[in-house]
Symmetry: C2
Subunit: 436 residues, 2 copies
C-alpha cells in the first residue's frame, strides 16, 4: 500500500534534519519512500493530513516479557527475588500455550496503542509469542531465555529443554514475515544457569550469527553473588564462555563495573535501561552517564508489566529523564530530551540491527502520530520536551508498523481486543490463578 | 440534579469500607446521598452504569500554578533558580488578565480531563483564576502568594500590591459558589519577601480565619541561605511571625529539619509533595517517611506544568511511589498503593478543610470514573495497584465535581476547549512570547 502523510511535523531522529515542519512523508510497502518539504510525484492510495499531530518513529521497547501482561502488578510491593520466587515463578509454572497467546496479544495491544512498533522480548512458549507478533504487525526480536538449574555436570543439550527451544525457535521463526520476526540467542541470567549452558548458547549464536539477550547485574545481590561464586562479574564470566561475541542487549546493567561497561562497548552490547521496573522492585538506578562515558549505547525497555505495571514508553522516557538527571546529573551535562528520545527509538533499533527508529527515506516505515491538540500537549514550546515530559501513551492516535496502519483513533486493525479480553478472563486467569 | 451510579466498583478512601463492589452511589445536588449495596429508593434524573469502570474520589491537587499551562516545559533543563530568573519571571512580567484567563482555563481543562476535582493554587491575577475555576466547576483554594522585594524598612500594607490583592481576593471571592472557591492567605516564599510582609499576611490570616499556602524549603540553597540570614529555617522563621497559626499547606518540604516537621505537625500544616517538579528542577526528593514519622500529613501536587510538564495526578502518584520507596524504603515499611491514593485525595482534602476526598454519604460529590477495560488496566489483580501504577489521566472517562458532571467520554461540559485553544494561540502566546 502507498500512503502519503502531509502537513507533517516530525521528530525524525535523523541528525541531518532532527525536526521536520510542513513536510511530506511517503510510504510504499514496508518502507519510507521519501521525506521532504516538496509533495512527491505519483498517486497514493491514501493521504493522511497530520495537522495538529506530531510524527515520530515508533518506539523500540528493548526489553519485555510480553505475556506477563496477565500478571499486571501481581505481587506488588516486593523486591525482585521475593517477587520472582513467591509470586511469579509459581504462576508461570502453570502457563500453557493458550495462556501465553492471550497474554501476548493483550500485552501487544497495550504496546501498539501507546506507540511501540518493535520489541525485544524474552519469555517461554516463545513460538506462540512469534505467532502473536506476526499477527499484530510489529517487529519482534524473540528470545527464549535459557534456564538450567540442574547440576552443571549433568548438562546435556539433548536433554536441556531450552536448547531444544532455541533450535526450534530459530528453525521455525528466524526471519519470518520478511524479517519481521528475528530470533536472538538468550541466557535468562547468570544466576539461573551455568557454564555448560552458556557455552552451548554462545556456540549456537556464533553458528547462526545471532545476537544475544541476557539479564545482567539487575540487583546488587545478583552481582555480588556472581563475584563470590566465579571471582568475576556476570558480564565478564559470560564473556569467558563467548556469550557476547555477536553483541546484543544486556537488560538492566544497574551494577556494571567500569570493566564490564568497557567490555560491552567493545563487544557491541547495548545496555537496556528499565527505570520503572528497577525502581518498583527497588533494584537501583542504572548509571547512564557512566555507561555512556565507558562507550556503551543505551536503549530503553519497560520490562514485563508485572513489575512496571505499564507498557507505556512515554512514561518510561519521562521516568528515565527525571531520575537520571536528578540522581547523576549534577556533575554531568544533562540527558536532553533528544538523548532520551534516541534511547527509546534509534538506539534500540541499532541494538537489534534493525533499519528503523529514524524517519528517513529507505528506513522501515515504523511511524506513530501523537495528538498535539490534546490539552496535556498544548501549547508546545519545544516538541521534544513535550514528547518526553508531557505526553502519555493515550495521546497516540496512529501506529504504523512496517508500512501498515495497525492502530488508528482507538481502533485496533490487526487484533480483536474483545476476543483477547474474553480469552484472558475466560481461560488464562482461571487457569493460572484458579478462578480469578 | 440527582444521579444514581449502579454496578459500582470503587476505591472509597473510607476506612470503614475501602473497596466497594456491586454497589450503588447516589448523588443529590452537590453531595453524595448514599453509598451501599442496596439500590436506594426514589427516582433519579439519570442512572449511570459503571460496569467495567472504577470509581474513586476526584484528585485534590494541592499545589498548582494553573495559568502556567501557557509555559508548559518552557526553559526545560535548568535548575529552579536559573529557570525562575532567566525564563519564568521575564515571561510572567508580561502576563495580563486575558493571558491568565486563557492559561487558567487551559490548565483546568487538562486537570479535569485527568480526574482532578479540587486544587490549591497560588498565582498572580488571582481573581481571574477564581472566575475560571467557578466556571469550570471544580473546587479551588486560591492564594495570591505575597512577594515583596523592597527594603523591609519601606514596607507598608498601603503600598504593597499583594496586601491589596489579599484584601480584594478575600472580599470578592472567599466562599463564592457556596464554598466552591476559598481563599488562603499566602506568602510566596521566605526568600521572596520579608518579615513585615509575613507579619501582615499572618495577621490577615488570623483576622479572617484563613489557612496559609507557602513554598517551604524546596531547594537546599534556599534552606541554607535562610539559616545564614535569619539563623533558623524557613519554617521556623515564618513561625516567629505567626504565619502558621491557622495551619495550611507547605509546598515541597524537601529539606525540612526534624524540628521543622514537628512544628508543622503541631500547627496542622500539611506537606505537599511535588515529586515530578522536584526531580525535573533537580531540587531533591522530600523524605516522606521522615515527615510522617515526625507526625506530618502529606498531600500531593503537580506544581505548575512549566516544571512538570503535566497536570496528571496518576503520573504524580506513580512517580511518588517509585521514587520514595526506592530512595527511602529500605529501612521503612513501604508506602502502599493505599497510602499514595490517600496523599492524592483525602489528605489533600483535610489539608484544605474540605469535606471531600472520600466516597461516603454526606461528602461532597467529587467523583471520577476510570475505564478499567482499557488495555493498560486489564487484567486487574488489585484495584489500588492498578490505579497507582498502571493508570494514566487519559483513562478517566467521567469527572463529577460538586455533584455536576463536568467531563464525560472526552467531552468538556463546562469549558470550550476550541475557544480556549484559540485564545491561547491568538492572544496569550503572542502577548507573552512575542509572535509565537
Amino acid at each position: 500500500m502507498s500512503i502519503l502523510f502531509e502537513n507533517v511535523t516530525a521528530v525524525t531522529m535523523d541528525p541531518a534534519q532532527p525536526v521536520l515542519k510542513d513536510a511530506f512523508v511517503a510510504v510504499e510497502g514496508t518502507q519510507i519512500a521519501s521525506v521532504g518539504t516538496e509533495r512527491p510525484a505519483g498517486e497514493f492510495e491514501r493521504t493522511i493530513d497530520c495537522t495538529g499531530k506530531v510524527m515520530m518513529p515508533g518506539f523500540v521497547n528493548c526489553h519485555t516479557h510480553v505475556p506477563m501482561a496477565l500478571m499486571r502488578g501481581y505481587g506488588g510491593g516486593c523486591d525482585l527475588h521475593t517477587w520472582l520466587n513467591d509470586y511469579i515463578f509459581p504462576v508461570e509454572a502453570k502457563l500453557d500455550d493458550w495462556c501465553v497467546a492471550a497474554g501476548a496479544e493483550l500485552g501487544l495491544a497495550e504496546m501498539i496503542a501507546s506507540g511501540t512498533t518493535c520489541i525485544a522480548d524474552m519469555y517461554m512458549n516463545t513460538e506462540i509469542i512469534a505467532q502473536a507478533a506476526l499477527k499484530a504487525g510489529i517487529s519482534a526480536d524473540l528470545a527464549c531465555g535459557a534456564v538450567y538449574f540442574g547440576d552443571p555436570a549433568d548438562f546435556s543439550p539433548e536433554t536441556c529443554n531450552d536448547c531444544e527451544n532455541h533450535i526450534r525457535l530459530f528453525e521455525n521463526w528466524h526471519g519470518a514475515g520478511d524479517g519481521q520476526i528475528l530470533v536472538d540467542a538468550s541466557i535468562h541470567a547468570e544466576y539461573t544457569s551455568c557454564p555448560p549452558a552458556w557455552e552451548w548458547v554462545a556456540g549456537f549464536a556464533q553458528k547462526h550469527g545471532l545476537r544475544m539477550h541476557v539479564h545482567v547485574s539487575e540487583t546488587l545481590s545478583e552481582h555480588e553473588k556472581c563475584i563470590d561464586k566465579y571471582g568475576t562479574t556476570p558480564a565478564q564470566i559470560l564473556d569467558k564462555y563467548g556469550v557476547w561475541q555477536n553483541g546484543g542487549i544486556a537488560a538492566h546493567c544497574v551494577y556494571l563495573s567500569g570493566g564490564d561497561a568497557e567490555l560491552f562497548a567493545k563487544r557491541g552490547v547495548t545496555a537496556v535501561h528499565n527505570p520503572v521496573s528497577n525502581l518498583k522492585l527497588r533494584s537501583g538506578v542504572a548509571p547512564l552517564f557512566f555507561l555512556r562515558d565507558c562507550g556503551m549505547s543505551v536503549a530503553l525497555g519497560t520490562d514485563g508489566v508485572a513489575s512496571n505495571n505499564s507498557h507505556d514508553m512515554f512514561e518510561e522516557m519521562k521516568t528515565a529523564a527525571l531520575v537520571q538527571n536528578y540522581s547523576f546529573g549534577e556533575d554531568h551535562s544533562q540527558l536532553s530530551a533528544a538523548d532520551i528520545l534516541a534511547m527509546a527509538t534509534v538506539n534500540g533499533a541499532k541494538a537489534l540491527g534493525r533499519d528503523t527508529g529514524v524517519i528517513a527515506a529507505g528506513k522501515t516505515a515504523d511511524l506513530i502520530l501523537v495528538d498535539f491538540t490534546a490539552p496535556n500537549l498544548f501549547p508546545c514550546h519545544d516538541i521534544m520536551e513535550n514528547l518526553v515530559y508531557s505526553a502519555n501513551g493515550s495521546n497516540v492516535c496512529m501506529n504504523m508498523a512496517r508500512g501498515k496502519i495497525i492502530y488508528e483513533d482507538g481502533e485496533f486493525l490487526t487484533l480483536d481486543l474483545d476476543r483477547i479480553r474474553a480469552e484472558v478472563t475466560g481461560y488464562a486467569l482461571p487457569h493460572i490463578f484458579g478462578g480469578k
